[in-house]
Amino acid sequence: MAHAPTTPPLSKEQLLKAYRQMKTIREFEERLHIEIQTGEIPGFTHLYAGQEAVAVGVCAHLSDSDYIVSTHRGHGHCIAKGCDVGGMMLEIYGRAAGLCKGKGGSMHIADVTKGMLGANAIVGGGPPLAVGAAIACRNRGDKTVSIAFGGDGSANQGTVFEAMNMAVVLKVPTVFVFENNGYAEHTGADYAVGSKDIAGRARGFGMPAESCDGADFFAVYAAAGRAIALGREGKGPATIEPRITRYYGHFEGDPQLYRAKDETKELRETMDCLKNFRARVTREGWLTNAEMDAIDSDVLALIDSAVKTARAAPPPNDAELTTDVYATY
């Protein structure tokens, strides 16, 4: 564990931002876990708690002109890519003022102006889109990249194989991020991923790939940095496979009968990216507990206000039912 660089890999400002984003995601999800039980939030919700270091460690390298495509478990990616937290909460409550006017919901949050091309409720639906966004990046020649977030489940979808091969063939700047959280819905990755090695599978398509500790922000940041740099240098796609866990079920309400009793309780002790981050930055003297405590209370207030606003906000008008189907009719 001993690690003693005197200079952090990110500026202090970036470290504070990374911590704030991870904490925001955690608080957003923990609060949703509670609020969902009131029955006020419609539909299916898939929480990202536990995986924060992945979204933030990757997106810390990106600007608004880079693209990401996300998954059904997309809240973390949205926050890390800069989507408005209040707008997201309104969307999840199905409100008119939501980021997508209440027409998308938890699984379809998007903000194209932030390069966030959508959460996606089809497992394996996003990677082909990311390859297309990367064609746009390549043709613009502005060194932008696209990121295809997916889970271990998506690593078994044919569309993802097609996307990976096409990215290699076209040599476009797509980084495939397979967040291996150990479970695809209710089935273990140790069962469903035949080779048990997603990064190895990506190498088989002819691109560099590495796995890393997804609970270690700095490990993800470094691996993503190497992968993204290849894209920015015009060297084509790359893959990272952060190994991580999710603290909640596949969806909210999932009784998780496929997990050992107390598995998540234990993982919260041993595999928590926020605790890891705090321990590292204080040990190295990069940030102080007081600085992070201040962020904690900011974030609590932000989420609390987002929930209060969303609960009180009006739903969309019925007249919105058939608008936005087409750009022109």
Binding site: V112, I135, C137, M166, V169
Partner: protein
């Protein structure tokens, strides 16, 4: 004006618009052909039907992209590139192949605008070859436009001639919505008058191909050509028909059809697809509910049978609605 085939008319539309708009890219299997391989001929095909010929030599790898045989990735990449500001034309070699990429069409491209609350658009044009008549068998001959017409968010274009194909393609390329553009294989070589320059034909405006007083006939793509034959034969007997080519099934020009039925009182709908949940059934239902009081006789639908497209020449000929069957249907609707 010069005579041009539908193949050349669409090709011309692509050339003109790629010249005009640098955001347009073309991607698909063999759109230029000859990538890799041993001949060194870098434009070995120009599309399997030659519709994308001459684009690669002009615009190169950045804008004319030969892809692996990966339809999901082709359509998905086109949709993703569209979200990221390009205007992609994806070629799905045969319409039958929607089966391998349907998710990217109906769950992704078609729904983005709505799911994103109107923030963002997905201007992708999916060109695809369809239709029977070339003995290509059950997996290369279907007219699957009913599947796509049923999807909110997609626009569906089904041209019946070279002139319309060019104008409709240019409209598709200048629009902000996802479009599926169905090109009937048997119509590719058919020639018609086509101006050299660019022009647009609005979606949702049917063409009145023949004017008459006794029967309204609605037909799409190759069925327009067959209906013309039937109608012209009947005209010699003094039976005259309105022939309406909707040109786009989404949006559908209901008004032109209803106005015609209001004056003729009789409707025959021709569709190369099988009958269940077909465009013929859709138009018949629309007229039955919105134009019932104009009708003097039951609506007659002429469709393919509820069967896959067969291979043998004789069977395939029997499968596709023929001018003779259309003529018979017009006589039948006049009986009552």
């Amino acid at each position: 004006m010069t005579q041009k085939s539908m193949r050349d008319a669409i090709n011309e539309a692509l050339h003109l618009e790629m010249e005009r708009d640098p955001r347009i890219i073309v991607l698909g299997e063999d759109v230029s052909g000859g990538a890799g391989g041993t001949s060194g001929n870098r434009e070995a095909s120009g599309g399997i039907f030659g519709v994308t010929k001459g684009l690669w030599p002009k615009y190169g790898d950045a804008r004319v992209i030969d892809t692996p045989i990966s339809e999901s990735a082709i359509i998905g990449a086109a949709a993703g590139a569209a979200l990221a500001g390009l205007r992609p034309v994806a070629e799905l070699m045969f319409a039958d192949f929607v089966g391998v990429c349907m998710d990217q069409i109906y769950n992704q491209a078609a729904k983005f605008r709505y799911m994103f609350g109107g923030k963002g658009s997905c201007p992708v044009v999916i060109r695809t070859a369809m239709g029977a008549g070339m003995n290509m068998g059950a997996q290369h001959s279907q007219t699957i436009y009913p599947f796509i017409t049923a999807v909110p968010g997609m626009k569906v274009v089904i041209p019946s001639n070279a002139y319309d194909a060019k104008g409709l393609m240019i409209t598709a390329l200048r629009g902000d919505d996802p479009v599926m553009f169905f090109e009937h294989k048997a119509l590719y070589p058919r020639k018609g008058e086509v101006p050299d320059g660019a022009y647009t034909i609005p979606f949702g405006e049917a063409a009145l191909v023949r004017e008459g007083e006794h029967v309204t006939v609605v037909a799409l793509a190759r069925m327009v050509v067959f209906a013309e034959k039937a109608i012209d034969a009947l005209a010699k007997e003094g039976i005259t028909c309105d022939l309406i080519d909707p040109r786009t099934t989404s949006p559908l020009d209901e008004e032109t059809i209803l106005e015609s039925v209001a004056s003729t009182g009789r409707l025959v709908v021709i569709d190369e697809s099988p009958p269940r949940c077909s465009v013929a059934a859709d138009i018949a239902a629309m007229v039955a509910s919105k134009g019932f009081r104009s009708l003097k006789a039951p609506i007659v639908q002429v469709t393919a049978p509820h069967a896959p497209v067969p291979f043998a020449r004789e069977l395939e000929r029997a499968y596709v609605p023929s001018p003779a069957r259309i003529e018979q249907a017009i006589r039948e609707v006049l009986k009552d």
